[in-house]
């Protein structure tokens, strides 16, 4: 039984209480902090205590069963919460407490869950290793000298370390699937628009999705069903009801699974290859038809992503100007441009500054056609590749989530492009707005390896049901070589 189901049923039936759940979370957070994981940012025993009271009152006053009663959730620090700071792991928002709450968080809390802690991340979600946090890097839970992936590395590490059974992260270009793969947990990115972005600090608005980590597929699915559904506060939110929980499958009969050849290069890490080969064998054994397919524009995903994303980021981060909230720098003698430049120049870390500069460059006069507009056309072609494959009878695409397992801290911080290429297999689904997930399918020298499934838009139910079948058939902790 999944942890979320276990806890919520226990609280609903009275076998345990919300207060015991918050005390347990407090104990686990203390231990994780003591271990130096650095995955949790803000949390407090007082806040946890008040949440326990709130949940108990809610349980008494509502006739409806709270689907997530007593479930602790780590929430990435770029998702607005009312009682804990929302800093995006940036100096420019150090200590900032949002005066409004993200729709996803409101829905979680209304369902009986509580925010156990805010989770560390790459500053403003820019990074693939959670080394770019202004509050220090997050350790991989099993290998302290390695990275947990990013940018939602704090959320991934907390779930992998067993501190919370589920966590909210955010995806812009793989920031949940990639760390899920590195940490050996489930990471689910819904279709763009399936979950409201209201309260998610915008990074790449056309790409951003609040996404979910879980120990198991069922954990993530339960959280997703609570936070999904139309929100009038987000004009890009799909006018659909919340995702309903599908009956998990135990086989894959009748499904056609596509293996895009561009995602299985000759130089794929041998451990990754071995784990994926095993997963493909299992797919066949479970009754799926497996077919090789081609997504010819996939090779342009990362360059396309690293034009679109910085362009949107540069615009989205213009609001951090030291006028209305957050940190102001420059001293009392400075003029207005001086105030802007000092506030932004010192408030943002190195990767954020790089993205803003690149994004400003690709939109600036004389360059917008060559970079931004060309990338937005390429994005159409990349998306068409996916929809063509799906309309040719493919139900799900299966790929490795990452080209290698978790790398060592410091390996890629000096080389931005090398860091960007860690997202080579995850960027495509983000550009196309498709649902995708990463599932642990084995370990190589102890390092977790993830398999990615990509589904047609709004086919999360099919994707999650299939993932549950894989999960039941494959021991994600098994050493592959």
């Amino acid at each position: 039984m999944s942890a979320v189901r276990h806890i919520s049923e226990a609280v609903r039936s009275g076998r345990t209480t919300a207060r015991r759940a918050t005390l347990h979370a407090e104990e686990l957070l203390r231990r994780a902090d003591a271990k130096g994981l650095n995955a949790a940012l803000d949390w407090s025993p007082e806040y946890l205590g008040s949440e326990a009271g709130r949940i108990e009152r809610a349980a008494r006053s509502t006739r409806q069963a709270l689907p997530l009663a007593g479930v602790p959730v780590a929430v990435k620090d770029n998702i607005a919460t009312l009682d804990l700071p929302t800093t995006c792991a940036s100096r420019i928002l150090d200590g900032y407490i949002s005066p409004f709450e993200a729709t996803a968080v409101t829905r979680l809390r209304a369902a009986g869950a509580f925010v156990a802690c805010k989770a560390n991340m790459d500053e403003f979600a820019m990074g693939s290793s959670t080394e770019w946090s202004a509050f220090g890097r997050v350790q991989h839970p099993d290998f302290p000298d390695r990275v947990p992936g990013g940018s939602s590395g704090g959320s991934a590490a907390l779930v992998a370390a067993g501190v919370t059974p589920v966590a909210l992260g955010s995806e812009t270009g793989g920031s949940v699937r990639q760390p899920a793969s590195f940490c050996g947990v489930v990471g689910v990115k819904p279709t763009y628009g399936r979950v409201s972005r209201y309260g998610l600090v915008a990074f790449g608005s056309s790409l951003d999705c609040i996404s979910v980590f879980g120990e198991k597929v069922d954990d993530a699915a339960r959280v997703l069903s609570v936070i999904s559904g139309h929100d009038p506060h987000d004009a890009t939110s799909a006018e659909l009801p919340p995702l309903s929980l599908a009956t998990p499958r135990t086989d894959l009969k009748g499904l056609t699974i596509g293996l895009p050849e561009e995602f299985f290069p000759a130089d794929l890490h041998p451990g990754v290859k071995a784990a994926l080969d095993h997963a493909i064998e299992q797919a066949k054994a479970l009754g799926a038809t497996v077919r090789r397919v081609s997504l010819p524009h996939a090779k342009y995903s990362v360059p396309t992503y690293y034009i679109v994303n910085p362009a949107e980021a540069a615009a989205n981060l213009a609001r951090f100007d030291g006028v209305r909230y957050g940190k102001r720098d420059g001293g009392s003698q400075v003029d207005l441009p001086g105030l802007y430049r000092a506030t932004r120049g010192t408030g943002f870390g190195p990767e954020v500054r790089r993205r803003i500069l690149v994004g400003t460059y690709v939109l600036s006069a004389g360059y917008a056609d060559q970079y931004y507009h060309k990338a937005m056309k390429m994005r159409t072609l990349i998306t068409r590749d996916f929809t063509d494959a799906f309309s040719a009878g493919i139900d799900l695409l299966l790929t490795p989530t990452t080209p290698t397992p978790a790398f060592k801290a410091g390996d890629k911080t000096e080389d931005p492009v090398a860091m960007y290429l860690a997202d080579i297999f995850v960027a495509g689904a983000s550009l196309a707005g498709l649902p995708a997930l990463s599932l642990p399918v084995g370990r190589s020298e102890g390092l977790p390896i993830g398999m990615q499934l990509i589904a047609p838009a709004f086919a999360e139910a099919k994707m999650l049901a299939a993932a549950a079948a894989f999960e039941a058939a494959i021991d994600g902790r098994r050493e592959v070589r």
Binding site: I79, S98, A102, A202, A235, A311, A315, A368
Partner: protein, 472 residues
Amino acid sequence: MTWETVIGLEVHVQLKTRSKMFCGCATSFGDPPNTNVCPVCLALPGALPVPNAEAIRLAALASYALGCTVHATSVFARKHYFYPDLPKGYQISQYDRPLATGGQIEIDSPERGRVRIGITRLHVEEDSGKSVHDRVPGKTAIDLNRAGVPLAEIVSEPDLRSPAEARAYLTAIKQILVAAGVSDCSMEEGSLRVDGNISIRRPGEPLGTKTEVKNVNSFSYIEKALEIERGRQVALLEGGGRVEQVTQLYDSSTNTLRPMRSKEDSKDYRYFPDPDLPPLVLDPIWLAQRKDELPELPDQKRRRLMERYGIPAQDAGVLVGEAALADHFEAVVTAGAEGKLAANWVMTEARTVWNESGGIEVSAPRLAALIALVQGGTVSHQSARKVYTLLRTDPADPKVVAERLGLVQVGDSDQLGHWIDEVLATFPAEVARYKGGEQKLIGFFTGQVMKKSGGKADPKGVGPLLARRLGG
């Protein structure tokens, strides 16, 4: 050789909505600073814009009123610049796919008569906040109540040929948008703002370098500011210099322009489609309904008044200039007055009252009754004006008021004869001169009789009686 002036205007009007363009904050004017604000218009991290349906409806109406084509699909775009009253660091506007394009209106040019002015485009955008420079010593204070208020930006073709024409164009735009119910167009409350582009050239030559005139907050100032800038350009070119692209800020207290220091990069707005907002897609049926929903516009009304009531173009233009007066005029005619007479009364007496109080104080039936008294010879025109003034506060019937004031004309020949006898007795020398052939003195005697009667004598009765007495 003369210079030809070429002017295009960019007009921003506030759309008459209750809430802001992208959030639920009130648009009310004059509230304490920073009280109509929320996560969205403060650009708090995580807040998102959602477009206001009413703003879109009003913008579509405005587009049709200006003869534009409204596009079924248009796109919101981000326009980037840093300014403390622009919370997001970009303005949500529309760029290469505006709501509407290709319109035109007719205006009365003081120099060229009736001319057509092209409307390049109309797009929807949000307003910025307000920077106040004299509130906190040595600092600039920012009020974000206006930030996010919905605006339509209306860009004209460079079809205007003089500053006076620019003013006439603005007047026409205002009349159209007020008639369409789209905007109050109040410059005092900032719901209408104008920027001008101006260049000069020798007739027939290609366009000259244009400059921009900004910060103008009244219709007469835009004319003045453009005059000054035209003069400056003429002097430059005639002195052998050349015009540089510049933005001029108008200072109404000194009636001068001064160039805005432009940062070299300030014009690189880096527009791109706003990824927070899917395209604005409008249903063709809905659009057709908006077109039908348009009330009668000033130009149509002007033609109709001329045709139906036989009044001159000049009069129709004046009446249409204030919708309430045009309505009043029609009501006066409906209540029985003759067209031209009703127009005269409405354009003079009723308009004076309207300008004073903003109301129609003397109802149409009462004005029509008063006009009938004049036409029937019961009161003189002069007396009727006095009666009109009293009718503003006196609910009584116009005839009753006239009688009470003793302003009803006397046509009774006994009474008239009595006054005439007295006058002739007072001026024997003039009577002798008249009889000696100075016929024009008849006017003098008439005037004296009117004076003697206190204005009550009916001039139509006085004339024949006088002639008989003097001739007899």
